[in-house]
Symmetry: D2
Subunit: 486 residues, 4 copies
């Protein structure tokens, strides 16, 4: 469709004003308070080895809590001198930061919320790398955090155990607590009206004692939390949970907003998606862009799998009047690609925050009954089966993108897998560090497939561009993809 | 200056749409959970005697939590059928409401925050009337809650003990807690810019772990709490305190906003003012109208009393750039009336929320040192001396208003007392039920005094009218006063 | 029956070794932390007026926590220089003790448990005197705390409200908590075997999550608490409640044992008895002496009142094999005096601690059902009616004792009232300060009545003497009474 | 010295009365509440594989909470039909027991304390086997839990990390808590006087807010906890910690007493000893037998290591008057074998519980200073170096016992290692299941060494036998060892 002429411009802007910074040394929170000397030693290694750059970038992302950029590159460039050091002491560790974004500090002292996020990042990277993963053998390139890969799973059940392990280690799983966690998906780049609408939905969810889980970042990931905060306050709920699930590739583009009181950095996008659907008790989708589409395709491809016929997952699509039929377009795309039966799995509610909250409350009541009947845990959806293709990490390159089979001859579940990958690749090309670099070097990704499907995609993506849903500063969006019908 | 031609209009509007309502029966919270049978019996009497109308109106005010009106009359008229009944049971009480504002309910269940406010109202009225006050003997007029009056105090120290008793009974006093409570004063009818500014100041106070105390209601009473909520969330302070101090005469016009998590209904305006200055550790004043002036005069008249020379009370006036010198005008008025030395007691900071928060943080640190040195409690300023004239309830009538001596020959402290009363009377005429009725019946209050002082007042009040600071819906404000120079 | 030749000996013993003592200054706990200046002033007066000696003696009793004497006189004599001062500060009070029993201190610091007891004593005396009572007009004699008397109650219901007020002020009433409080009565002077048995019963109660309430002191008042402590520990109950209800006349003879974690000093013996039956959910009686008989007669006289026919109060009498039919003798006495139907109200279980605990568990389950049915509170038995004669304070003198009508012609309920008074008088003559003085000065109390009843009493009291149940050091017990048949 | 003629007798006694039993199904506590499906699967395997017998025996030991036997064999024989099953559910596990000792139940429901212990056992066995150990390859014999062995440690620091991991997983390490944990060692078979003395010491420790850690079981392991419970109650310390450290080989002989509120089953005796000295802040030794000697030699051999010259570990030996110079004999033995300088490392206090508690309080204050100075953690003594020989698991067989070099030519530290092993072997021969079997089959262990040392040992062991310190029922103790001088 287009070329990528603007990337050079992004790379330079040498006169960008240097942002205000702070130095500080902070003590650990949570389970990073109790480390063995062996763990401290391994952490120290992390602080000097291949993982250092990964950790540094995630740390910068959470420290940049006041930021409103969605470009990882921009964030990194704004704080070129930022350093973070893991200081080893007999009794544990400290983190020392230099040239960190000043917005994370009050009168020279780091915000407690940011400090918690910082140690959450450390906790998750260390846990995942030392307990579960082995670093890529060929980790020769600097900052090559994409090369961290799950070890071979002989057993298909292992991913759900791994996701469970990460979430439990983050102290996120609460036995003997009733279902009340609503996952909210939607765009980070949305209009003021859509943001206010997501806030209003969150408010009505909070009034009904429901908690919120999103992917961190601005827009539809922040609105529902802000709204729920007020709803919880009115109901005197002091332990409301605002859970943010991120992953190393996206965290810099979608900094956890400060209301998030539980941050987890999942190892990759696929495990992050799995965490959403196993942890949450219902899902609400607001208008968004390609990332939102990826999420919708993930959950629908999963729910359509016949092995999940006994599992209850309430799924609502909602938008304000302002959005003018956004979800009707999505609905058309889904029916065009996955068939009419896809409509069995979601409900669209337009411009009625209270109705959304009520429907979700009822949906979660049915989840409660379903879990009791199937004897599944309330805190983790063990019985859901994620199709194999959805679980496998998708390495975004020009080759893999070009190789995606987008053909109506495929079974809907399989097509959903490939469509999700296609949108996932576009997300990477838009906002992820590595994706942006690939597109800058080699031009936009090419997607090829059956004409009907490609037209549906082209129309949808065109709408996204037209409505400014691709990137926050998108006056001059240059697509990172080209669509070609076979 | 003007006459009061519009009052008839207010009285009618018979076709006002009837608001949505709910019925419910709610169980007590806090110390209303444990009542003796004798107390239940007395409460039951309250529910049927002279106090019933007072209780009913305050209850309606807190139930009307979504309202944005500042006219008590309007609120009462909108819910004419509202009833509240104290139901007696062996083991305690319940409250049954009928035709209550629907905004206080979610799916038919009363908001916990509103339920708490409801029992706070009951607690305070019952405590005050049964423990401390005796009802007016001549309580012949319907709803004459203004006639509840403190019994004669032989001992000048009794009011501070009484205020202490009310606050302790409300479980508001916390031993072994450091000074951190900032009183925020300012108008309920302010511009969006001023509201956002007060929110920003509250945010920076919250980031510094400071709590907020206001007079309930919208505008500058709500903004700092909302801001502090976010600041506290970022610092992971889950027990932030948002204290609202009201009184029966004002509560309907200034409904407690839902963020208030400690509501106390003080017996009258003078005790409410005393509660502010004894409970709070520092005071910030935002732009406002006559009520704000009343508060400023109360605190300055008190601080200027030489018996308070050893007491530390940080007092800051602050405004956004938008307000364009509001406090410079106040400053001029204060100097014109109370003399140059009044400037020793306050500091003006313009358009810098962070500087305000920092100055208050430092001010409270000096309060901490002062309390330690004088061995005063942190939770209550025992050593402050309130001048006698400030403490005495001022019954607003045309006679008492006309009788106020406003003369530069008076000592500044005495003049401050009379000026406070003058502004207090205008507040009553603007928004209090009884004051509105008096003015409607007999025309505006006349204020007479020395020419210099009256001109200063006239200028200031004129500015308030011009800037819309008198009432929320003030397109056509008809003054409830006339100024006459002697 | 006898004379009182030993009392002189008790009065002297001038060479008694002076016990080790400590001086200290302690800060308040509980609701004594937050006092108004007015309250501090009143307290200060207490510390210097007629109440001082009452407070001093109760304070000494709780400080003497390691003591094993049951003679108030002995305790007072052992610490003749003991002083306690209420120190007034701006922000509250401190207590300063001089020459206090060293057993209340560890390394010079007062035990937290004793400190709590000390402020409980202050709290209750102050609350009762300042809120509820008015000091005796004729308070001419020093330390005449017996003359503190309840004001006239026009309303028969007032005592239960007063008892409620005292208990609530002591923070003892817990709304929303299920019935689980077992009152244990029995002697302070019992055999090792009986003590161990009471401990075993307490252990099995504790294993069943039941809490204990006794009258403080050694013997059967301490055993069940010690046993329950272990039972609670095994069940991981960290908030087990060990409630001690005392009164000023008995506290010196029955010092609260250190396991008591809620001490309340009721105004007099009648209100203490009323507190037991309204607060507890079931009653277990162990072997004891005249005080135990007083308690048994109080509860039976109450339960036999037909107005209580709908009220459930499980009442168990139990003893170890060693006691050899103690309760069979009590049973006979009760049948002889109150008639056969008295047996409907209690159950005797011999030598089976586990059976006692099980029966009590089932009894409390029926209390739970009864309270739900009658809609009474769990935390206070409002519906129980205490006969008027049981509630009236009985002033023990030679005249009042001699004047008691003990005649089978009386209705059982009325006879129970007089029998209780008779035993209450003997308790006073045995261990209460004032009673001991009366008997020393005027010889034993004379009790006169119908032959059958007097013989039953004489037999029972003779058994108590023979079994050493009158006083702890009773090798040479000189009865403080004579029994005369009319 | 003797032969082992009684072992046959122990093996039979076929008519032993069958003890009362219960069946039950219990839900997990602590971190066994949140298990992944993978962990549940592994647990299920545990329940059927080689580890089953190990788990079953430890489970029986904690269920046998009312037992007073110190012979593992006896315990196992009394409940031959006892079974425990790990029941797999979607959301986690349950444990189902059959024919379990009735003493662990109240009205058919398992005691919470025992339930916690049961899941502590499961937690520790599973954690250790799945996370840290690999099962013995040659695990051919049933119930051969002695063959679980630590994997080769290339790094000498690994054991302390492993011990840390086990303790942290047991939620025993508390950051930000001051030093207050006193390890109490001493015999399980002691006199009533010695038991009461240990209780009194515990009481005085508890009064000083100190917590207790012992090896579980009766005697000197139980007394200090019982005493501390009362001391804590008097000081209103509701979170007193009573930590029991056991190991699979000893747990059946030394069942955790019910006061233990943190039970950890360390993998073997050496790691248990390391846990004691790294977790505790000071050590008190009461009279005991060979196990106590083993502990004394372990800590002295460690403290005498010159690498520990900067580490503070208060070590007190104490006994009541009744014991009549027990520690003077120990002192002589230590000086005879390890030399005069050994006396620098301990202090003996005879018959003065309060002095012991005061000395320990001061000792722990110096630990506090030492940890601050060396920047070591309060919750774990990282800086202590355990000599290699103390750390290595010692497999007790006739060969290894006979091979111990007991020669004054060795450096004291090395001799201490061998002496500890010698005593460790005698413990095994006395009370451990496997040791008893070895001695029954092959006769007593032979110990050979230099004459002076062997005489000192012989004299000490003879005293232990004479004083009944070898076994609880030791009327007819047949030594499991022979001493031979070379």
């Amino acid at each position: 469709m287009t070329t990528a002429s603007k990337f050079e411009a992004v790379a330079t802007s040498p006169n960008a004003e240097r942002a205000a910074t702070c130095d500080a040394s902070v003590s650990p929170t949570g389970n990073m308070e109790l480390l063995s000397q062996e763990e401290v030693r391994r952490l120290h290694e992390v602080g000097h080895g291949d993982l250092y750059e990964l950790f540094r970038r995630c740390a910068l992302a959470v420290l940049n809590c006041g930021g409103s950029m969605d470009s990882a590159e921009e964030v990194y460039r704004q704080y070129p001198d930022f350093e973070i050091e893991i200081v080893q002491r007999t009794r544990g560790i400290k983190l020392r930061v230099r040239n960190a974004p000043a917005c994370a500090f009050v009168d020279g002292v780091m915000l407690n919320g940011v400090r918690e996020h910082l140690f959450s990042v450390l906790r998750d990277i260390v846990f995942v790398t030392s307990e579960l993963y082995h670093p890529a053998e060929n980790g020769q390139r600097e900052g090559d955090y994409e090369s961290i890969r799950v070890r071979e799973h002989s057993d298909g059940g292992e991913v759900k155990n791994l996701v469970f392990d990460v979430l439990r280690n983050a102290e996120l799983l609460m036995p003997r607590s009733l279902p009340r966690l609503v996952v909210c998906w939607g765009g980070h780049s949305i209009s003021r009206e859509e943001y206010d609408y997501s806030k209003s939905v969150g408010y009505h969810l909070g009034l009904r004692s429901l908690d919120i889980c999103t992917g961190c970042g601005p827009g539809a990931m922040k609105g529902p939390m802000k709204g729920a905060t007020i709803g919880h306050a009115k109901q005197r709920i002091s332990k409301g949970r605002y859970i943010g699930l991120s992953e190393p590739g996206i965290i810099a583009a979608e900094s956890p907003n400060p209301i998030v009181n539980h941050l987890v950095v999942m190892p990759d996008i696929e495990k992050r998606l799995e965490a959403f659907v196993r942890l949450g008790h219902g899902i609400i989708v607001f208008p968004g862009g390609v990332g939102t589409l990826e999420e919708i395709l993930f959950v629908l491809g999963t729910l359509m799998d016949e092995r999940n016929s006994r599992v209850t997952v309430p799924l609502l699509f909602t938008e304000p009047a302002w959005s003018d039929g956004y979800f009707r377009k999505i609905d058309r795309f889904l029916v065009d690609t996955l068939g009419e039966q896809v409509r069995d799995y979601y409900q669209i509610i337009e411009d009625d925050p209270e109705a959304v909250a009520l429907a979700m409350k009822q949906g979660i009541a049915s989840v409660n009954r379903n879990r009791r009947k199937t004897r599944d845990a309330f805190y983790y959806n063990w019985l859901l089966t994620i199709p194999q293709g959805m679980k496998e990490p998708f390495e975004v390159t020009h080759e893999t993108m070009a190789g995606l089979q987008l053909d109506s001859g495929l079974p809907p579940a399989e097509l959903a897998v490939n469509l999700r990958r296609a949108f996932s690749g576009i997300v990477a090309g838009n906002v992820k560090d590595k994706g942006i670099r690939l597109v800058r070097e080699h031009g936009p990704f090419a997607l090829r497939g059956e004409s009907g499907i490609m037209q549906a995609m082209d129309r949808l993506l065109g709408d996204f561009v037209a409505e400014g849903r691709m990137k926050i500063e998108s006056q001059q969006y240059d697509p990172c993809y080209v669509i070609e019908s076979l």
